[in-house]
Amino acid sequence: MNETLEARQVEIVEEFESFEDWMDKYEYVIELGKSLNSMPESAKLDDHLIRGCQSRVWLVAAKNDDGTIRFEADSDAIITKGLVALMVRALNGLTPKAVAEADLWFIAKIGLDTHLSPTRANGLQSMVQQMRHYGLAFQAKG
């Protein structure tokens, strides 16, 4: 268990605790989506595309000098983008090992796990998998 990741997840859950209504929750997710930097159109390559049935997600990963992973992500749907922002916030700057083994329990805790079910088909579930794959890949490269 990675302490940084745990602390970040606790923090996110606390932020969401104040919302009583679903619409308030989404208001906040939309805000997060809007404040996440958009990837330049030139970076939205098919190679980076995580194909969902409806909304599309792009994900790029790079290694920092200290060996940790840096993620950049975007989506054409703003709620998806807000959720993407939360996942990037949780995993950014962690070691490849921590990313590969990450258990993102906060999503279920804040009640947004329906967005991760395959039926919602928004690419988020695949995105989480892809992030872990990057963790594994960067681990292998050493």
């Binding site: 989404y26 409806q54 709620i79």
Partner: protein, 409 residues
């Protein structure tokens, strides 16, 4: 014609009492699947609790009872579409299954190298992909009739493509994405004059309007049970008797045979059993018969009147929202309203409507070529049934306004 009181009808739909995300459920996804009235729920329960057994093979009382109910359901279907003969009604898993049966049986028997199969740009994937697979296997060619900006079949294009003398014309009765009601009688006549066989996908028509296969003059008609207030996993393929008799069986197995011999080969059963290999979806068929009788009890005319009122109100209300564009504006349309909003992804609107308890569908609705035609990634689609009310339509309009404010604000 007596008019319909949706509040009375709602009493027969237990699911409509539930809440979603802490809000009363407003179910506006009829075109994906209809909810079930008590009569249908009860028919399945009754079958499973009192007379479940296999059909057509028992000497015992339960099997006889199940067989009688199963065949009686077939008679209900036959009557509801005005088939000339009961054996023209084949049980299938749904419209998709029915179309695949036609493609793999009639298609394999009749489509040859260089032949043309004609569909339209507004077809559901179920009426596209089986034909793509078939033409690829047979060296034939698939052509599609274009759609106008209003979401109507392009008449000139249709007539031009009929000059290719397609072996088969397969088109939808009602568009699941646009709501457009096609003049299938007219096109069946035109297609027959061009020497084509005509298949109509009636999935979106059967729950809403009178269907008379003899008056339409089509050769094949398919629909799914679950969109017509019946269960999932059951549907109907209607075919003209002579055509069905000439066709080879598709799936082999029990039920569909006359005599099976390892020495002399197998002879097949007559209609309709030739196409019904294996144990059928007995409870589904029985409950579909009940669903169609239930619809008839209310009256399709009354249903259509009510649904037209809802649809008109939705189109009026949504049409006034700034930046919102209705996709599909056919003069003759069913209870489906599809729309997009400038700079807003349909998924976001669908999510925010869901959090207000309003169930709509978003995405491409299994009609990707149509999305491409209109240059959109997807739409938000609301669709109405007999149990929907004007208050629910108003909630859709105000819910959509609220969602747009949140997303654009």
């Amino acid at each position: 014609m007596k008019s319909l009181d949706p509040n009375q009808i709602r009493l027969q739909f237990p699911i409509l009492n539930r809440e979603v995300n802490g809000k009363p459920l407003i179910y506006l996804d009829h075109a994906a699947s209809a909810q079930k009235p008590l009569a249908v729920i009860e028919a399945q329960r009754e079958y499973l609790s009192h007379y479940h057994s296999n059909v057509h093979r028992g000497v015992h009382a339960l099997s006889n009872q199940a067989t009688e109910a199963f065949e009686s359901a077939r008679r209900s279907v036959s009557a509801s579409i005005n088939a000339e003969f009961v054996e023209e009604v084949i049980w299938v898993a749904g419209a998709t299954d029915g179309i695949n049966l036609i493609a793999q049986s009639w298609g394999r028997d009749n489509i040859k190298q260089g032949d043309v199969v004609l569909i339209t740009e507004m077809e559901h994937h179920a009426n596209i992909v089986p034909w793509q697979m078939l033409v690829k296997a047979c060296g034939a060619r698939l052509e599609a009739v274009g759609v106008t900006d209003d979401g109507v079949l392009d008449k000139t294009d249709f007539q031009n493509k009929l000059k290719l003398q397609p072996k088969l014309v397969a088109l939808t009765h009602v568009s699941n994405t646009l709501g457009t009601i096609n003049d299938v009688k007219f096109w069946a006549d035109e297609a027959h004059a061009a020497g084509s066989i005509v298949l109509i996908d009636g999935s979106q028509a059967m729950p809403h309007m009178d269907v008379d296969v003899q008056a339409l003059g089509c050769d094949f008609y398919v629909f799914s049970g679950h969109k017509a207030y019946g269960p999932t996993g059951i549907g109907v393929l209607y075919g003209k008797r002579q055509l069905l008799e000439e066709m080879s069986p598709w799936r082999g197995g029990g039920e569909m045979i006359d005599v099976v011999s390892l020495k002399h080969g197998t002879t097949f059963a007559g209609l309709p059993y030739k196409f019904e290999a294996g144990t059928p979806h007995i409870s589904g068929a029985i409950a579909l018969g009940v669903a169609l009788n239930w619809i008839q009890g209310i009256g399709k005319g009354a249903m259509q009147d009510h649904e037209n009122t809802l649809t008109a109100q939705a189109r009026r209300g949504l049409g006034q929202i700034e930046g919102l564009r209705l996709i599909g504006n056919a003069p003759n349309s069913s209870s489906v309203v599809s729309f997009v909003v400038d700079d807003v992804h349909p998924y976001d609107i669908g999510t925010l409507l869901d959090s207000q308890g309003i169930a709509v569908r978003t995405g491409h609705h299994c009609t990707q070529p149509l999305m491409e035609r209109f240059g959109v990634v997807g739409t938000v689609r609301a669709s109405f049934g007999a149990y929907n009310t004007l208050q629910e339509v108003d909630a859709l309009v105000s819910g959509t306004q609220r969602a747009i404010r949140m997303l654009k604000g």
